[in-house]
């Protein structure tokens, strides 16, 4: 399972980042936490994108994961980082599994739109319900690890990075199974897949569920690293757009791509916001268009080209 180049790179890179994080200034650790949290969701969206499906509503699952953490915190005082992560991923995954029965029959723009509609329903509910925090959302207390309250953010950073590594390894493995290989194949020709004897609906349902578990986990981790959830930045359609944006920015080439892409996005946003607080959206939008036009394979394809030259491949 771990023999291939990607797995080795993920493991090696993960360990390196965790070690380097011990010496990095806080803000860089933060960028990694935000970036890697979001990357989890992007990994799922990447699997869908390879299958030819783009969801314009995965903020639904991202938000569910984040709000699961918030509600557990406020109602039951759950602060354990693993319980929170598990809850976020499970709630989102369960919702995704159930909705998957419907969504697996949708393609193209209809798939995108139904996802949007579902996410906006949740948005409409949360925004208008005071007990769900309405527009403000909730502040989330610091996470604990096996009952211990860490002094710094570093332990959480280690956990997020580790979760990222594990998710990357699992998805990388998944993509090499028969189920996983049925991504491009389904995008290319569903009829043939059915005639070969495989249920396209089942394959898509599994991929969709995986993507929702990952998005939920991402939301939970994001909520914990930020310490805050609110509907505008967790559930609104612009958040779904942002997730797709990062997916395209990363490129579908490899499970490592979402992690690099998310980091780039985080840094890009931080600096765009710092240098041009009134034009940061413009910078993001222009970057997005540039990627769509000139780099359809995302940042990964760029790295591949650079790396390819070195390896003489």
């Amino acid at each position: 399972m771990l023999e291939d180049k990607t797995s080795k790179f993920v493991l090696f890179g993960g360990v390196l980042i965790i070690l380097a994080g011990a010496f990095a200034p806080n803000w860089i650790v933060n960028q990694f936490m935000f970036g890697f949290s979001r990357a989890l969701a992007i990994v799922g969206l990447m699997v869908l994108w390879r299958t030819g499906l783009v969801s314009f509503g995965h903020a639904f699952y991202f938000g569910l994961g984040a709000y699961a953490v918030a509600i557990l915190d406020i109602q039951l005082g759950v602060t354990d980082v693993f319980l929170r992560l598990l809850a976020g991923a499970l709630v989102a995954g369960l919702a995704g599994f159930l909705l998957g029965f419907i969504l697996r029959n949708y393609r193209d723009i209809f798939f995108a739109m139904l996802n949007t509609a579902i996410s906006m329903v949740l948005f409409g509910i949360v925004v208008k319900t005071e007990s769900l925090g309405s527009t403000d959302g909730f502040a989330i207390s610091m996470s604990t690890i096996f009952g211990l309250a860490p002094e710094t953010k570093y332990p959480l950073f280690v956990i997020i990075t580790s979760v990222g590594v594990i998710a990357a390894l699992l998805v990388n493995y998944y993509l090499k199974t028969t189920y996983g290989r049925l991504t491009t194949a389904i995008r290319d020709n569903e009829i043939r897949v059915e005639y070969l004897g495989f249920s396209v609906a089942h394959a898509i349902h599994l991929k969709y569920t995986i993507s929702t578990i990952l998005a939920g986990g991402a939301g939970a981790l994001m909520a914990m690293s930020l310490g805050q959830v609110d509907p505008e930045s967790m559930i609104n359609w612009t958040v779904s757009g942002e997730l797709v944006f990062v997916t395209i920015l990363s490129g579908p080439g490899n499970v490592i791509a979402p992690f690099i892409g998310s980091l780039v996005f985080e840094v890009l946003r931080t600096y765009a916001f710092e240098l041009a607080p009134q034009a940061w959206q413009l910078i993001m939008g222009a970057t997005f268009l540039t990627i769509i036009f000139f780099l359809p394979g995302g940042i990964w394809s760029l790295l591949e080209k650079l790396g390819g030259r070195k390896n003489g491949k």
Binding site: G52, V54, F56, I102, Y106, D108, I109, F110, A112, M113, L114, T116, A117, I118, M120, V121, F123, G124, I125, V127, K128, T129, W237, T238, G241, V244, F245, I248, Q278, A279, W280, Q281, L282, M284, G285, A286, F288, L289, I292, F293
Partner: protein, 298 residues
């Protein structure tokens, strides 16, 4: 009874505003198969341009009735310029790409256009109340309404009628319908499809701009106003059937009236109800209530 009439009028007024914006969106989708997120920006640009010039002209001492001319001019100028530049500068090069990727490109455009508004018009809200003040108010169903808001319904009806006439009574409409039905067929019939695309996009953009320009006198024209309108018009277009003008009309009325009903009777569900309807329609009738006919392709 008063409540009923009020809900009906509120609903229709909201529907009318939704319809004008959504008609543009649905025409563009019908002809070009592009779900244009940047349509929200056309709306915002229309609103800003109208509000800006209404204010300017009023300051220069022009009669307030000029406002109506400015509204129409703003819609046309915004639609022409933005529509032309975006279609020719960007979308033209994307027609061979995946439908969903084009949606994403328009999302990128949306982000860009939102901030250009900030740079062009600043962050101060604009108020272009003059046309509304000019038309005064009437008492209807026990409450006072501004006549301007009621004219919105008439404008929407005009837009609907205009679209119907264009599609069904002119040669242009026949060509357009051929392209909507089947693009390849359109090409084989010798229709200049690229030209049809450009004109359609500009036309749709003008309607988006008109929605914004006409509503401008009744709102504070402030940054970010395109964000909400675009998901609302998505809901309208999906409910009615993507690509169908009649569908956009029905979708607008359903969503407008439901929303008004919610505001009056159960304010908490006001936002939820719009998207719940959208989701339900997508689940049970994904093509929308009034899906345009599609050619059978084996």
């Amino acid at each position: 009874m008063e409540t009923f009439l009020t809900i009906l009028l509120d609903g229709l007024q909201f529907s009318s505003y939704l319809f004008i914006v959504s008609a543009g969106l649905t025409i563009i989708f019908g002809v070009m198969k592009i779900l244009n997120v940047a349509h929200g920006s056309f709306y915002a640009w229309g609103a800003y341009t109208a509000a800006f010039f209404i204010g300017k002209f009023s300051d220069m001492g022009m009669p307030d009735a000029m406002g109506f001319l400015i509204i129409i001019a703003a819609a046309i100028v915004v639609g022409l310029i933005l529509g032309f530049v975006i279609e020719q500068g960007i979308l033209k090069y994307m027609y061979h790409r995946d439908e969903v990727l084009i949606v994403l490109a328009t999302f990128g455009l949306f982000l860009v256009l939102e901030d250009i508004i900030l740079i062009a018009f600043g962050t101060d809200p604009y108020f272009a109340y003059q046309p509304m003040a000019l038309l005064d108010s009437v008492e209807l169903g026990g409450i006072i309404r501004d006549v301007y808001g009621l004219t919105l319904i008439a404008v929407a009806a005009l837009v609907a009628l205009g679209c119907w006439y264009l599609l069904n009574k002119t040669k242009w409409g026949t060509l357009l319908k051929a392209v909507i039905y089947d693009r390849e067929m359109g090409i084989s019939m010798g229709i200049n499809v690229p030209l049809v695309y450009t004109l359609t996009f500009i036309g749709g953009a003008i309607l988006g701009g008109l929605g914004g320009a006409y509503i401008a006198p009744t709102i504070s024209v402030a940054p970010g106003l395109g964000t909400e309108v675009i998901v609302l018009s998505f809901a309208v277009v999906v409910v009615g059937g993507m690509g169908s003008i009649a569908g956009a009309a029905i979708g607008s009325i359903i969503i407008g009236i439901l929303r008004a009903l919610a505001v009056h009777e159960l304010p908490q569900v006001e936002l939820f109800v719009v998207f719940a309807v959208m989701a339900v329609v997508l689940v049970f009738r994904p093509e929308g209530l009034f899906a345009p006919a599609k050619p059978r392709k084996i």
